[in-house]
């Protein structure tokens, strides 16, 4: 069963510390297994288009989801299954979007990672990299105008997306407006096949922050404890009114760009280095070492998650897919302003 969004305080007392880790681990595992399930469905030809998973990025991603509260804004990117779940997205929403169920938030109109529920502060990404950051700014800007305080907006980009003009304009905009934006940069060493050496020439993407006058935080993206702390702190700072926060996490994409990609171009040295650690394994070892869980408990958890996912898949596969004849083919919300070739 999914837990609702936590009021996470990763630097609180010991019990809450343990609980946060356990919750985080559960979401990470759920995300990993849900991603794997989608990959399997894709290979079985059940999913059209592509499947994009977050293998290796779960620790970072879950930390965002857990640091946010109801009322915050979250605009995840492609590798944020864990963060989405932790923010409160039900497992079925992912499957419904991948499988095109009309009961899903995108109703078969948009697919895979392009899902969200804007009215719940959960923004569905467009594909154009970098384009979501200023949209998050807009939600924060609007809330401030409406007198809402204490909220934050978080969004994620990859090392590759840092090269887009859109990201630059948006960080600068957030800085000028001193918006409570938390921008998570997942430097996972590659943008599709392109290594960071062909993407930027600065020492570290964190060096960008000073140029905007925003605070920046670096973190080992393979280490759940570190991610919970650093992301949690960044969110807390934004919430406290210290303006935009940038978090740069270092990790390695442990999968292809999408499930069509065998990622054979990834440098084996990186895989063997600390950056190539699997954050899920690291988190698991941490749990075991801290004796917060034992092998039996983890096996039980795994079993529980398998069932949860299988049930969700079975349910969604029975759900209706869109019907072009009953579909409302209108892109404009004001009925009479629609037009088209067919009336």
């Amino acid at each position: 069963m999914l837990q609702t969004v936590l009021d996470a305080d990763p630097v609180g007392d010991a019990t809450s510390f343990r609980d946060t880790h356990l919750t985080a681990y559960r979401f990470m595992l759920l995300a990993r297994m849900l991603d794997d399930k989608c990959a399997g469905l894709y290979r079985a030809g059940k999913i059209h288009g592509g499947v994009f998973i977050g293998r290796g990025q779960e620790a970072l991603s879950v930390s965002i989801g857990l640091s946010l509260k109801k009322g915050d804004v979250f605009a995840p990117l492609i590798r944020d299954t864990a963060g989405r779940l932790a923010f409160g997205e039900p497992v079925v929403d992912a499957l419904r979007t991948y499988l095109g169920s009309v009961l899903g938030p995108m109703r078969g109109r948009d697919g895979n990672v392009h899902r969200g529920r804007p009215k719940e502060g959960y923004l569905p990404m467009v594909s154009h990299l970098g384009a979501m950051v200023s949209v998050v700014n807009g939600t924060l800007f609007a809330r401030r105008m409406k007198g809402v305080t204490g909220m934050v907006g978080a969004t994620c980009i990859g090392d590759g997306a840092t090269s887009t003009g859109a990201v630059h304009e948006a960080i600068n905009q957030a800085a000028v407006e001193k918006l409570p934006l938390v921008l998570i940069v997942a430097d996972n060493q590659y943008a599709y096949s392109t290594p960071t050496s062909r993407q930027f020439a600065c020492r570290d993407l964190a060096d960008r922050a000073a140029g905007y006058g925003v605070e920046s935080h670096s973190v080992d993206g393979t280490d759940l404890s570190a991610c919970l702390k650093v992301v949690g702190d960044a969110v807390a700072r934004a919430r406290a009114g210290r303006g935009p926060q940038m978090v740069v996490a270092t990790l390695l994409r442990l999968c292809g760009h999408g499930e069509h990609d065998d990622a054979s171009y990834i440098d084996p040295k990186l895989k063997a280095s600390p950056v190539g650690r699997d954050c899920l394994k690291v988190a698991e070892e941490h749990l075991l070492r801290q004796k917060w869980a034992d092998a039996t408990a983890l096996a039980a958890l795994r079993g529980e998650i398998v069932r949860e996912i299988e049930e969700a898949v079975a349910q969604v596969q029975r759900e209706p897919t869109p019907d072009p004849f009953t579909e409302d083919w209108r892109a404009i919300s004001t009925g009479h302003l629609n037009e088209g070739q067919e009336k």
Binding site: S127, A131, S134, G138, A142, Q173, I332, H336
Partner: protein, 321 residues
């Protein structure tokens, strides 16, 4: 009292800001300065915190508007010139225009584009971009030709739940005057008969309506009564009004200031001929700008765009068919 097209735009914004707390204006130099064309003059003072200077970041300006719209606000974005909207193009066509269709959450933003040619403005401060926006699903594209429409359509643009590309013609800003602002208006989506006539229909929009009217006047002494249809919005495009007019006149000339390939004039002719072929007594014709960037020098500029003289010449040719 007499009020210009530009003042009408300012008044509409003042009205919207006054009536609806969800409205705000965001754009370069729109605040204390009042905008490059003074379309927001004094508004920052009158509505503190709601008329806000933006950095030179058109992409982020539109993105911010979309985010604010999701939260229920009704932002008005001023582009300094329509030409610079190409830098915010992606957010307009892929973010704003798709939001409602994808998520069922409407996107009530208004993007004001000061557009169209004026003497000496050159290739990057003169463009007519209604076509590239109208081509995309999910946008309403308004092209008011009169002071009254500038006012009432801008109010409606802000009021409706969809993203509106509001094309306000810079050539009309100061030239066009009205006695007073309207209290009633045709709804958006309805074209207007700007002048009645029986011999030919000229379909135009924005500044070209005035060139068409002038051409029509020029043809009166020659015995011709030209009907001029002002489209008002190019998307939606009121085919019915156009066809009803063509049914009366049997002749159709479409005039647009935009480039020739695939614009409003092509769309109008395609609709009329596919839906009302039998109404036409002679081939429909169109008149657009030339297929080059908009030239700087006035000599070239006046030859590049359709003028009343060019419209009258095209009309004469068509009347003789």
């Amino acid at each position: 009292m007499s009020i210009t097209y530009l003042e009408a735009i300012r008044e509409a914004q003042a009205h919207a800001l006054r009536d609806d707390p969800r409205v705000f204006i965001y754009g370069q130099d729109v605040g204390a300065f009042g905008g490059a064309f003074k379309a927001t003059k004094n508004l920052a003072k009158e509505f503190p915190g709601r008329v806000i200077d933006a950095p030179i970041s058109e992409d982020a300006m539109i993105g911010l508007a979309v985010g604010a719209a999701i939260e229920g606000m009704r932002p008005i974005i001023e582009m300094q010139f329509a030409d610079f909207s190409t830098v915010g193009f992606n957010q307009i066509v892929n973010q704003a225009a798709t939001l409602f269709w994808r998520t069922n959450v409407p996107c009530p933003i208004t993007v004001r584009l000061p557009f169209g040619g004026t003497s000496g403005s050159g290739p990057f401060h003169s463009q007519s971009l209604e076509t590239i926006y109208a081509h995309y699903p999910g946008l309403v594209v308004m092209t008011p030709a009169t002071v009254e429409d500038a006012y009432s359509m801008l109010l409606e643009a802000v009021a409706i739940d969809d993203p509106v590309i509001f094309c306000e013609h810079k050539f009309l800003y100061y030239h066009l005057k009205a006695e007073k602002l309207p209290s009633e208006a045709l709804p958006v989506g309805k074209a207007r008969i700007a002048r009645e006539g029986r011999d030919m229909t000229i379909v135009a929009y924005s500044a070209m309506v005035h060139e068409a009217l002038e051409a029509a006047a020029e043809l009166v002494p020659e015995g011709w009564e030209i009907e001029v249809v002002d489209l008002r919005s190019v998307k939606p495009l009121d085919t019915d009004t156009v066809m009803a007019s063509v049914a009366r006149t049997g002749r159709l000339l479409c005039v647009g200031e935009a480039w020739p390939w695939g614009g409003v004039t092509a769309e109008v002719i395609a609709r009329v001929t596919s839906e009302g072929f039998g109404l036409l007594d002679v081939p429909p014709q169109r008149l657009n700008a030339k297929d080059t960037p908009v030239p700087y020098h006035p000599n070239l500029w006046t030859a590049h765009r359709p003028t009343a003289r060019a419209v009258a010449a095209a009309a004469r040719k068509l009347l003789r068919l």
